[in-house]
Symmetry: C2
Subunit: 147 residues, 2 copies
Amino acid sequence: MQISSRFTLAIHIFACIDTFGSEYKVTSDFLAGSTNVNPVIIRKILGQLKGAGLIEVARGTGGTTVTRPLDEITFLDIYNAVECVENGELFHFHENPSTNCPVGRNIHHILDDKLYRVQNALEKELACITLADIKRDTEKYLSEENR
Amino acid sequence: MQISSRFTLAIHIFACIDTFGSEYKVTSDFLAGSTNVNPVIIRKILGQLKGAGLIEVARGTGGTTVTRPLDEITFLDIYNAVECVENGELFHFHENPSTNCPVGRNIHHILDDKLYRVQNALEKELACITLADIKRDTEKYLSEENR
DNA sequence: ATCAGATGTAATAACCATAATTACATCAAA
DNA sequence: TTTGATGTAATTATGGTTATTACATCTGAT
């Protein structure tokens, strides 16, 4: 199974806040329009990002702001915030290997460290990319549109 | 969403073939018992591994054999064989970002290369681990049981 | 004080992949 | 030809994703 689109949605949301936040008030309805996703889904993601301390959302008046410098928010922060995988485990292990079989009762010993290595490689790369990269490239592509 | 348990199941299957293949005939029913997973699911995975040329399955008589030296079968081969993610894409991108919004119509330009980097890091690590590693550790843990 | 516009959230449904299960056609060695 | 195995279709249950409706709640502006 693929990683939930909540992840790409969250980054799209940050790109919108970067781009439009100083001019307009970035509301869940605006974000729903830009992403073409239901506003309730957007608000759920905003709630998760808020819960992780990455943004602040104004009740009543509306609008969203980022709490930290963009180069201090990594893809890994966002990935963790929107709960892309259950229990933080990338791989779904079959639940009840047989304890009667020598392989079955040792398969976790054999495999867990290797799965961890792979997951770690993913997370390490996620941690290398920040919202500053997104801001830079967003500005680049938007300015190319206006030539 | 997590990566399908077909992946850990496939590795468990290879560990069983390594361990028991010379002594017993490794059938889908035997594998179903060791993994505690329905034999039809096992046979589906065996079919995918066979389709990728990693194993041979004897019709009629039954039993499974590996086609290549174990150090020439990587986790990535297995990951690809059992179709862990749709279209080979790890991340599910939201389908229809708005073309009316400057961010919406550029979000793929902005994000695709970064998602590719992350996916590549995962696949590169998968390619570093082979069934020879599984064989070595299986033998290690099984022999530790018999002390 | 109230109104307007926004967020927070519960509840429901549609959709899709996973996984289990039953059933049966097919195969190949004994 | 019998036996035990694979290959596969069909059905069901389960669970996560996403859409949608509805409404309580909040807050700045009038």
